[in-house]
Symmetry: C2
Subunit: 505 residues, 2 copies
Amino acid sequence: MAELPNPPVAVPDVAADLSKDDRKAVIEDLRLGLVNAQYRLKDANFPVLVLLGGRDRIGTEQVVDRLHEWMDGRYLDSWFATPRTEEERTRPGLWRFWRAMPPNGRTGLFAGGWIVLNIRALMRGDLGRSDYRRRVLHGNNLERLLVDDGVLLLKIWLDLPAEAMKKRLDKLHKNPAQARYAEELDWEIHETYDKATPLIERMLKDSSDVVPWQVIDGSDEKARDLAVARLIHEAMEWRLDAANGVVADAAPAAVREGDEHPIVDHLANVKLQKTIAYDKYKERLKKFQVKLHDLSLQMREQKLACVLAFEGWDAAGKGGVIRRVTQAISARDCKVFPIAAPTDEELARNYLWRFWRRLPRDGYMHIFDRSWYGRVLVERVEGFATESEWRRAYDEINDFESQLTEHGNLVLKFWLHIDPHEQLARFRAREQTHYKKYKITDEDYRNRERWEDYVHAVNEMVTRTDTKNAPWILVPANDKRYARIRVLKILCKQMEAALEGSLHG
Amino acid sequence: MAELPNPPVAVPDVAADLSKDDRKAVIEDLRLGLVNAQYRLKDANFPVLVLLGGRDRIGTEQVVDRLHEWMDGRYLDSWFATPRTEEERTRPGLWRFWRAMPPNGRTGLFAGGWIVLNIRALMRGDLGRSDYRRRVLHGNNLERLLVDDGVLLLKIWLDLPAEAMKKRLDKLHKNPAQARYAEELDWEIHETYDKATPLIERMLKDSSDVVPWQVIDGSDEKARDLAVARLIHEAMEWRLDAANGVVADAAPAAVREGDEHPIVDHLANVKLQKTIAYDKYKERLKKFQVKLHDLSLQMREQKLACVLAFEGWDAAGKGGVIRRVTQAISARDCKVFPIAAPTDEELARNYLWRFWRRLPRDGYMHIFDRSWYGRVLVERVEGFATESEWRRAYDEINDFESQLTEHGNLVLKFWLHIDPHEQLARFRAREQTHYKKYKITDEDYRNRERWEDYVHAVNEMVTRTDTKNAPWILVPANDKRYARIRVLKILCKQMEAALEGSLHG
């Protein structure tokens, strides 16, 4: 699926001079085609996502209503841009789009897509240049991710000459049955028409890197509705046929920037011989837990959220480390998410969706016991993800994490490292312990055979995703106590820095 | 599962005079026991839910932290009462508890359960007598539902003599590392201690109908933590053994009030011969859609939400009716949810959870194409639900709907009625229509054999769940057009009444 490009869409030619009867016949055909395509889509392993935006805000809403009339509303998920709710404001900007993401087999209509919503802020001077560029980047990256996943993504921009806009607003004003479509905002859009034009042109250009906007003139409402519906119908048919193997000219996965950077053997540099004496451990544990406790209160106070990912070899002691962290923090402020098999709702969407839906509100700490890095670890090594899937995951993950850090989250990733001898000793010991015996399965032994593959995957993962704002911390864990103190110490240091940054930033 | 009562819990006796070493050994045992029980629970088909409340608010938070230390935090879902978010305020009061409901196999700790949160409002005079009683009722009904589902529900109330409370607050004030636990609120609780006592006693009594509160004295913090942990551990062991068949004295399903009310043959009274002429249909359709459109704008304005459930025979024309409704309403304000097979996240919780999670925010209309009534229709007739499950569903559904209407939602339930001949004719016609052929499967024909069983189920459903505030509307649908006009007309009338009520209420 991942190799299928989006269709080479072109705005369908709509003969505006159709007779009334001909138009009726055309619409009947189109409706039948759209509904049939929706039924075919139900069994497909991808969703359709249509972003509708435009200077013609009223037209956008009318088009969505029209699509609901022509298509089967039971398989359409429409989302309308409204002022962000409190729960949305306390997460990164794209959270609400991820939240509304349609699962495989369904069609989503987003009235007002990611980047579209920035025009108004730009106009009003509420959005600086660098913030704008970051949002464009994240929007494009999201589109890249969706397209690579096989999502059929269409972007339709409805434009309207200033004259036509004025005429429509005047007309709406006189027709109470239609007046609902007009808002104060529409007059604002009309009054700032010329000022907005260069901004819109730039935005359309900036956000067409992955999926280009299809610009449709909305002057003739009937022709507009037909054009949008045809565009969607033709793309769906194309894509459904492509998925069935009718189109076979799939493009190979592109080579990504960074792929040629040499992989560093990070694990070889981890000083596994590090230990700590028991007395010193007890003393440090207490010291850092008291400190962590205090810092967690300050983080809550400052509304700074924290996202921690714990990865490591089986039996490396993740659970023990996590427990030492959570002991110091009120359960009110901190949640642990063990990541095992995804649910079917999760399987029907991008692998990052299950993490997006678990992002903390500002002021909270969420700890992931295994994480989104499963994509480039177990899924890579065991072959659950294709090569192109795990290769592109590095970029996807870097973009995901940078959205968190830009929103103000503290993001840290820990790899707990042990050697194979230590692991075997721990497996054996666990089998002797009543309570821990649940933790050891045949699979754990099988995974040991892949040790070298995992070493390679970890080294590549760290090489490609160790970033300044969301660093990897490789923790020597042959001595469990040493590992716990190390994690606590680094966590405290990073929280202090985050609080510092928030106070002075 | 449904037949298993909750354990006959008694507060475990905790010897306060344990030596330090003995206490340590006791705690070690308890931790091992708790974690083992959590592992056993993972494979069980029920969750554990612990409500913690108490005058000893600080103690409650400390106990949750302690449980997180002693148990495996990866399988604990803790929820803390905080001021309701915007998204929570725009739904019925219990929405946020349903949202946090643990799935089968996990343990949920709710710090501040449903009814507990009302004490403060009562104290401050913000909660009237009748509202308080309604909340008690809904809380008790929720507990009944959970217990009947097989949830292990424990309710622990931490109390503290006034003296001890004062002492603790003074002590916390002097210890910066513990100060986080104390809030302004705690002083308020202390200052109003005597005034609160009778209210608390009444609340504890009122809300012990289904699962009684276990009151624990929190004066001795160590003994308190041990008592709570033991209570949970013993109940889990008891319940896990019971689920394994060790305890076989399951109580039979109780006879419910109302079960003896005679079932009325409502369907026989539906005037199936009703028809409407085409011209009249066109004229009425337009009239009511214009009206509905206007009313939908007023509903949005007044922030009134609307929940519509459509049920009916296969091929009765639900889709066509729903389309006539949604055509008249902006897609922005209206969503349709087709109810097919539940996802695995839904299967791991009560059948109402999938509807709670889809409730509209104030001001929106959500239409369910098939609904929670599946429990007493297809699940009953096909044997997917046990007799005790579908029998108790009438009460559960009535309580669910009354929560919606009390929150201010307009709730309407439509049954589209046709006769078996008409159904057969429609099946045949669908098979001839390219677009509709997807709609007919062998199962549809099989269902016809159960016609009489369904008639009986529908009649009982209407008899038991036709309420003043959430009425059933039985719609003659042998003439599709008649059915559409009928639904539109009644919907308009009910929306007018709801708007009237909201303006004058």
